[in-house]
Amino acid sequence: MSRDMIIDLHPTEDQQMIADSIGAMLADTLPVSRLREKDAWAAAPEVAMWKDFAELGLFAMALPEDEGGAGYGLCEELVAARELGRVLASPSLLAQIAAVHLASGDDRAALVSGDKRAAFATPGVDGALYLYDGVGADFVVVLDSGVSLHKADGFDWSEAVAMDETVSIRRASPAPAPGNRDAMADRVSLLISAALAGMAQAATELAVEYAGQREQFGQPIGSFQAIKHALADMRVRADAADSQSRVAAVAFGLGGNDRREVAAARWLAGNAALENARAGIQVHGGMGFTAECDAHLFLKRAHLFASLGSSRRGEERRLIASA
């Protein structure tokens, strides 16, 4: 960020409205606890709600008004992405937002309206392409060093089993040749960073709530420094990730070293989501280790999002590469 830039991180009125409306819809329809139900993926509520999200304008926030969008920018998309991250919404909702930018003409219109669906896929070190929540999707947004849009039926998918069993995964070989790192790849990376920051926040809140209620040795465990300090560190990590992703979003496209801003945001957000998920499980003690508690859902989902077209090492390389 150029030091000449003055940024207000407080949400604008529009941003607050977006956060409130999406947040309210998600709290009603996609509480994190839904993921303990172990429904088959086909019943995942996000798919059934695709049209609702479209009507809310989620997929076209940053399109100009004459294309049916709201004329907002990346900052507003980021607000939505954080809310989606907080409830561990399907990664394909973010894929849809990305796909709208990558598509054009009729495809774009069908994505905006929710008539067609997109999902993320990312290559593994085994050379295969891994697709998340892509059953029935029309488009695949492939995240590697770059980002590119593909027809879903151009691959020969086979089923796989995910660590996060609340997400469906499929694989196809070989993965397409990696693309170049361009501004769109940075943009999508920032959306994922915001979702990861939202997970880090929500994991903190979950653990804080538990620590304030659960008693051991005659006191709430949150009164013990070992727990209190772990929670304080969780909050600090979540705040760092969130602030940096917001600063990077404002700086995005304004020139300067913003590629590093994006890399820092992703590095911090991946770290915060993973570390906070781990710490959250530990704060929950025995409960945290069970499938009956939400804590592990954050862990599994954080690993998935953190690995989407990126790795800690990849961001480190970008952070050191000359601007």
Partner: protein
């Protein structure tokens, strides 16, 4: 510090190795349930018949009466041979059994120990409660003396392999008037008694080895009390220190093998971003180097623990040091695998099933004493720091 050069030990090791090579079961181990229990018991019987059960247990109860060194050698060779984890036999072999050896009456030892070694009975634990995870002194499950029975009502949680277990080491409150750690009793509960109900708990890994156990006026003979009534805390504390590291040595070796496998895989895998092997990335190599050093440190801490064990009758609180180290390290090793190998390692149907190892690894920093409790114990009982203002 010295190398122990003893031809007897070398011969013992060779014997272990030979026997294990010929006898380790080749049939696939069932993942859970009663089939798993049967498998574990059968393998225990095989070990007993081969003369390898209870290497360091007294001879009179079917053990071999050898030292902690032979015990260590046995564990090492056991892990090297890829023998099955003790799993559903763990509490019997590494917890309840050793406690009875030190604290049980002659009659109790005769009654229980041989059946453990012979693979006739397995045990589970009944210490933690939903309201008392780390805080054992606040246990609420009640035991009321009624004639020559103790009538137990309440619930226990985090009981591993409860389903199909024959016996349980159970800690109950027999005098509610006495504060906290006083008024507790350690008793052997037969798991087929009327009034016991077992509800499995699914771990985040999907494995269902845990259960919550409910007791509705379960009548346990007073003869099953180990030590005295209301003096169970001291018995439980004996057990708590028993881990010298040798009990988990198989897990430690598994962890070390995990690091080696990860280094190997990283060397064979091409990083799509750089076109070089993952291990050619110095940062990945440095991370793996650090983990390798820490796994070596873990083993050395265990060697130190065994060295103390050769001289002490009752293990001290230092046993928490390798236990804490292991609990934190195993999670980091398995987490590193997922982070380094990325999306391909997040699938559960991959060659190594890293997710299962990773998710299960969290339990070592939680179960049997969280890392926080272990740090308290190291601070207070090893370093002699004053207790906090909590009312223990």
């Amino acid at each position: 510090m010295r190398l122990i050069e003893d031809p007897k030990l070398d011969r013992f090791r060779a014997e272990c190795r030979d026997w294990l090579q010929d006898n380790v079961p080749t049939a696939k181990r069932p993942p859970d349930g009663l089939a798993l229990r049967e498998y574990d018991l059968a393998w225990q019987r095989t070990q007993y018949e081969g003369g390898w059960a209870g290497v360091s247990w007294p001879k009179e109860y079917g053990g071999r009466g050898l030292s902690v060194l032979e015990q260590l050698i046995w564990h090492e060779e056991y892990a090297r041979a890829g023998a099955p984890p003790s799993a559903s036999m763990f509490v019997a072999l590494s917890h309840a059994g050793p406690t009875l050896i030190v604290q049980g009456s002659d009659e109790q030892k005769q009654r229980y120990l041989p059946k453990i070694l012979k693979g006739e009975e397995n045990w589970c634990q009944g210490f933690s409660e939903p309201g008392a995870g780390s805080d054992l002194a606040s246990l609420k499950t009640r035991g009321v003396v009624d004639g020559d029975h103790l009538v137990v009502t309440g619930t226990k949680i985090w009981t591993s392999y409860a389903e199909g277990a024959n016996r349980q080491e159970l800690l109950v409150r027999t005098d509610p008037e006495q504060p906290r750690h006083r008024g507790l009793t350690w008793i052997v509960c037969d798991m087929d008694l009327p009034g016991i109900d077992i509800r499995p708990i699914t771990a985040m890994s999907g494995v269902t080895h845990f259960a919550q156990v409910f007791y509705d006026e379960v009548r346990i003979p007073l003869a099953n009390v180990v030590g005295e009534i209301n003096k169970g805390w001291a018995i439980a504390m004996t057990t708590l220190g028993f881990e010298r590291g040798t009990g988990t040595i198989a897990h430690q070796i598994e962890l070390a093998n995990g690091v080696e496998r990860l280094i190997e895989v990283a060397g064979e895998t091409t990083d799509p971003e750089t076109g070089r092997s993952l291990l050619d990335d110095d940062a990945v190599a440095a991370r793996l180097a650090g983990l390798r050093a820490e796994v070596m440190a873990l083993r050395s801490l265990t060697v130190a623990s065994v060295s103390r064990g050769m001289r002490e009758e009752v293990p001290g609180a230092e046993g928490n040091i390798p236990a804490l180290y292991f609990g934190e390290l195993t999670r980091r090793v398995n987490g590193a695998a997922l982070e380094i190998l990325g999306p391909a390692a997040l699938a559960r149907d991959g060659e190594h099933n890293w997710p299962l190892h990773y998710l299960e690894s969290f339990k070592w920093a939680i179960g049997g004493g969280t890392s926080e409790i272990r740090r308290n114990v190291i601070g207070e009982r090893v370093l002699g720091l004053p207790r906090g203002p909590r009312a223990i």
